[in-house]
Amino acid sequence: MKNIQPLCPRLHGGIKIEASASGDVSSNRRIVSVIVTELLGLSLDIPLFITKHPKTGAFDLSAIMAIEDGENLFLRDGEWCASQVPLNILREPFHILRSDAFVGESQEVIALAEGMVVGIDLESPRTSDEAGLQLFDEGGSPSPYLRQITTMLASLYSGHHATRLFLQTLAEMQLIAPAQIELPIHQKGFVAVNGLYTVDLARLADLDEAAIVRFHLNGYLQAIHAISNSAGHLAKLARWHQERQVRGTVGL
């Protein structure tokens, strides 16, 4: 169970975080939400798709890290095997919290943006009282590590807005289409993968010149091609998945 609380120098001054170059990679998340500015780097290794939020149906950007739930094929013996880690994995055990989501006496918080503060999962295995990176110095000021985290969370937060705008634009211009994918799965033959959407390149090609220029200038064109090209990594995931099934081991 998670226990996410607003981070407070007075209450959490003693907490230390176990160092990890790749954030909380212990969790076997199959899909993680990503932001538009990450697409280019992630697309080097990881398949990226447009997905839908299960409770609202709203479009989201996602990195697909496994074929089956409870699996993360980019994680081998605790090591992250891709050139870039999605920010939503890297930020763990920290969270972005709405400041109106908790009631409490006026406690000190670490502000991120208008109405948003840094939160911490107190149940995370990476928090401890003994060894690790300090969050605050003796005077209660944020440590260089925490300042780095705060910057990351702030860019993640502003990235969410940019991402929503990007997806909204694609949806309005009817550029999103279901991805027709069938993957060879061990002992099941070809299995259709549902719930993944991508950019309709045929429709993109039909856009008028003004729209294309606009897309180029605001980076959408680059983002679209990153998503589009990254789909090829799914075949690699299917292969890795198959290899693990055959060997029956986690490490390759």
């Binding site: 839908k52 299960p54 149906g57 949806a171 999103i176």
Partner: protein
Amino acid sequence: MNITPLKRVVIVGGGTAGWITAGTLSAKWRDKGISITLVESPNVPIIGVGEGTWPTMRKTLQDMGVRETDFVRECSVAFKQGWKYARWLTGAEQEYYYHPLELPAAYHDQDLAPAWLEGKNGRSFSKSVCPQEEACEMGLGPKAITTAEYQGIANYAYHLDAGAFAEFLKRHCVEKLGVTHVLDDVVGIEVAPNDDIAALSLKGGTSVAGDLFVDCTGMRALLLGQHFGVGFRSCRKHLFVDTALALHAPYPSDDAPIASPTISTAQDAGWIWDIGLPQRRGIGYVYSSSHSSEEHALEQLRAYLQPDVADPDALEHRKIEFDPGHRETFWHRNVVAIGLSAGFLEPLEASSLLLVEISSGILAEQLPANRNMMDIVARRFNETLGYHWSRIIDFLKLHYVLSRRTEKFWVDNRVPESIPERLQELRSLWEHQLPWRHDLPRATEVYSAASYQYILYGMEYRPVDYLTYHGEQERRIALRHFDATERQAQHWSRKLPQHRELIDQIRAYGMSTV
């Protein structure tokens, strides 16, 4: 010779029939030099009890360019997944069967009934061949919020607020589809030398000329009936129900489950419909006035409401009387009747809006190029619609003849003279042959053999004996489908949201088009 091309279509009447016709025609023809005008009286209220559709309505709306999200939000829409027939067979308290909208498994390959009739799996026909009955009983919706507009995980149609629907279509037709809307009363008809209708004179002093007129004026059938005197063919000798008492009932709480089937519960002299919309239920008793007094009918209706409605006596009801039947022809000269002007039967199996869709669909596909073509199109239209009306009457009657209820209404319904000839013939056939696709030979049938199977087997029809070529291989295939259906039902129970949850999500977040 008159070969002026057809340019102007004038629709009279602004109920759902009028606006569906206007939208269907306009979506296809407005850019092709055909003008669509709809004349609506500001003084005639729409009848507005057609609250159930067929799945075809999805395509009808999509073809008009309607966003399903807007439709769901603005017309109090809930998803309909079929019919639940309660107490139709013997009248016993807990008895029911389903007519789901999903086709039986393997429907296009093989009849599963012979294997089912062997009775080994102990489940009803509907449950054996289709997971939708279980989904309905679990209160599930037919899709998830992540499913695109007009797509379903399970097949579905709609329950809707008919008044809001007409308003919604009107806005869409006028604002998006360029339909000219004239709000005025028709006070006179200008006749052309060839006896066609040339124009309608309006109370405001103007007149509207047209090449083709669509009569959507409801039961009064202003153009086809009153002006041209085309006769009405009553089918009261087959279908006895002629009166409805309709009301709106509140839910006990805002988060009460919304039923996904249309629930039809048999009574002494007819049946009660129960349609769940997001904010209310639409409930009504349709009965035969020769078998029940209005007082007794009202008592039965209130007794039905008793368990879930705090004070049934406080609910106001509306009485609707109708002569079940249809016009002798539907297209005469340059007038075609669509909607209640063409005819009306009891609302069993939602045939009313379906016929509007079929009629307007044919009209849009076969719009006569000129007056010379019109008589050919009209003759073929009449033949097709005549066929559909007869088949609908057969199918509705089937529900009654299979009952074993003992009240006079039900006994009278089984008198052989009351059964249409063709249905009688099919029943003889089905004593020694299982109902299957060739029994309904048209490529487009209003009710397919699948519907007949659900009703027949649901009401415990059994052949006396029958010939079948089915052997071991067919049996194996069938058993595999029965297993797959059970697994599918389990899969849906994990995947599909509760019906009310789905409606709430759509109202809050909307659906995307992909």
